[in-house]
Symmetry: none
Subunit: 223 residues, 2 copies
Amino acid sequence: MKALIVDDDLALADVLSFTMRRAGFEVITAHDGLAALERWREDSPDLIVLDLNLPKLDGNHVCRQIRSESDTPIIMLTVRAEEDDVVRGLEQGADDYIVKPFSPRQLVARAEAVLRRARAALPRGPLAVGEVTLEPGRVRLRRNGETEVPLTRLEGRLLEALMLNTPQVVSSDSLIDAIWGPSGGDRSMLKQLVYRLRQKVEPDPSDPTHIRHVPGAGYLFEA
Amino acid sequence: MKALIVDDDLALADVLSFTMRRAGFEVITAHDGLAALERWREDSPDLIVLDLNLPKLDGNHVCRQIRSESDTPIIMLTVRAEEDDVVRGLEQGADDYIVKPFSPRQLVARAEAVLRRARAALPRGPLAVGEVTLEPGRVRLRRNGETEVPLTRLEGRLLEALMLNTPQVVSSDSLIDAIWGPSGGDRSMLKQLVYRLRQKVEPDPSDPTHIRHVPGAGYLFEA
DNA sequence: TGCGGTTGTTACCGGTCTGTGACCGCCCTT
DNA sequence: AAGGGCGGTCACAGACCGGTAACAACCGCA
């Protein structure tokens, strides 16, 4: 399990590294935002501990950037307990946050919790079923010729959830959970999202062949 | 849907009960840890709302105990936003937590989300008995040749309830509970539903062989 | 600040599902 | 033999659901 620790306070970064290594993690460090992105791209860690205040590139920005390309779990570190920071952090896709000062035990506990949650989530990588190939952020469609369509974050999650279970029916509830997380979405949101995804993926959106509805059960993906 | 509410603050417990009843739950309450475990064992609720601070037996302890024996969804209530509490709670297997004070709407929303997750987690694979195979949203019938008939939500639940208990008789009341939930259906609705299901599943609906009626007892499914 | 893209909300339409009431016939009791 | 309870059958209307669409809210970015 590889963890990337990003903090410009060298002393603190050392403490964190030590703590995480003791907990069995392999640790990489970075001390500014740009380096963080670089390390992330090169070493593809399983978990990122990210300070909010960073030179060169702000923690929020780093978080957004990473989140736009992957779901690597991120734990934010913040000095202030300002509600606003926390809320914004979580909105940007951080999986958890810790307010300084904090105990090593707490960091480890959170790291493990976040990883547990992430593991429950879905494996990554290109996912091909029939003429449809899902890659992070877009689909490739092979019918006569080859098209590439960009997908939004939610559309991607929906398609992934469906393709991973093909050709089984996935219940609306499971889908809602997979896309918006617990206490997140509702049926009308799902309905709308399905509609939008079909517009992009179906040869004839008004007569869907890939994303089929099974009354009383849910949706399924078919080649 | 039965909810167990555990809080030693009687006034708050009342408010919670009222809220949950309004949302359609049947509510049981307990005011200390020991009583909570007892109520849980006897009434087997579908959901538990558990305060952290309890007399006699601490909320954490109750949570661990329950988790070691079952997967009943648990929502923790905590006064402080203390991170430690939350982390420990989740580590012990709570499914969600709410920090007091909170709005009734929020409690209901989380309760429903947690239940949805629990329901989605159940393995709902194909269920085969004799020449009849039940899949999400449809039945497959193997008599000379193979037919596939779509089922509605309620029809599916009825058939599932019957097939899961084959070849035992299931009482009308249990069926009503399984299909409409408590405080849901009545006999005439069940009667009607049986009729509709037979139309789809029986070779000769006017002389049922699979879905049989046992006077004074209920229905049973036979191959 | 305004822009474009993404997401949530609401409304509407058409089809299906389902609750309801009515009627029939059977069986059991009286 | 009459009557009542129960299950089976049927028709119907309102509820519900999914697909479609337009709009509002929001966010990151220029």
